[in-house]
Symmetry: D2
Subunit: 135 residues, 4 copies
Amino acid sequence: MEVGVLKEFIENDPFLKLLGVRVEKIQAGSCRLSLNYKKELTRFGNILNGGVTAALADAAGGCAALSYNLGKNEVTVDLSVSYLRPISEGKVSAESSILKGGESIAFTITNVYDGKGNLCAVAKGTYFYLNEFNI
Amino acid sequence: MEVGVLKEFIENDPFLKLLGVRVEKIQAGSCRLSLNYKKELTRFGNILNGGVTAALADAAGGCAALSYNLGKNEVTVDLSVSYLRPISEGKVSAESSILKGGESIAFTITNVYDGKGNLCAVAKGTYFYLNEFNI
Amino acid sequence: MEVGVLKEFIENDPFLKLLGVRVEKIQAGSCRLSLNYKKELTRFGNILNGGVTAALADAAGGCAALSYNLGKNEVTVDLSVSYLRPISEGKVSAESSILKGGESIAFTITNVYDGKGNLCAVAKGTYFYLNEFNI
Amino acid sequence: MEVGVLKEFIENDPFLKLLGVRVEKIQAGSCRLSLNYKKELTRFGNILNGGVTAALADAAGGCAALSYNLGKNEVTVDLSVSYLRPISEGKVSAESSILKGGESIAFTITNVYDGKGNLCAVAKGTYFYLNEFNI
């Protein structure tokens, strides 16, 4: 499997498709994912629902983990999100990279930015590799 | 504002409506929210996307925080989710309660169960109160 | 190895000895550890240093993990602590139990109480098992 | 109060003194703290006890928060530590900086390195400001 193949997998993932997640960049151990701010993804106050931010950060961390150990599947073990600023406009993007990868576990850090380039959330994700890529 | 009014707010929240979140129970400082497992909320492997679990846990924690200090709005400060088991069927429910509430901050713990009653995720959420309920 | 043997290991661990950690109770998958509040463990304001709380919670989670899979060693993967109330007196105790254990990973939840029985911190810990108990 | 004054406060904090924590660098919103690896700070296996890593990371995050809003005291709200590699030698240092600061809350990120410069832990810390510096 090549890194580029992951783009198609991620973008056709049912829930990520519902959110409108796109893979903007991907290489071994890092990636940038994005989605458009839109009404259906908000909470009251017209800010992006924190669950969307968490989902995007988890997808980006998982994508970085998948790209680091190609051919292995993974599941999230722990996800920790700090919400620095509300997101109320523009393209929302998540840049993720591997802090440390191994045979069993990968640690990632992910920065989430709003359309103006403000850092709005930071997430740490821990992923456990499964041996097969059972799609 | 009465606790019961929150049910309507939560269920009409744009993103929570997209997920199909229902408020099953709510009282001062605790609640149970649920959603149905369905294809659009999954990831490859036909398990619930971890982002959905995080979003449901955050919504439940936020709902518990809102019910604890009625009339105040809140934003999530920190959300930490541990994924114990994959969720592959049934009604998914999240039971949340306040660990400690104050004027400025509320801490919550949330257990997420699958349709068979298995504990599948545990989340801690920290919420910061805003003075007005600006819907 | 029997569960009871862990008490001796834990209490003779160099850093835990420095903190004065005692194992009060231990059984397969759960334990209670404690230490005495004392000046050397405080920060300014005469409250227990948050690092002591984190260290006690991590020790309790690790102990619960060790007791669950006897004969295997473990390392902490992720530790997440929420500080609900400052601790300013008495015996400090940490009750930990396994949320989900497996061959590779154990998830724990730990409640930390002050001398009056107030819940002062809640921690989630994730531990990875090593195959040998290399003491 | 000037930033430089914090160095003395931190290094004379009772528990941080017990650990041997030194302030190597400090400026508005960031700092580097260190301690020496030594037997009393280890766990079995001769690696640094994870509680020491957590305590050092929390101290560094708190120091960054104090330096950002001089004259205000703070307490830790949430601390989340990911353990990437065991630490078994050398000077251990923690570099912390503010991700986002405000009147009430500061978010920090802290990298912990061993004596060889390996990144061994990453921590996110959330701090709540108190109005007075009640030493």
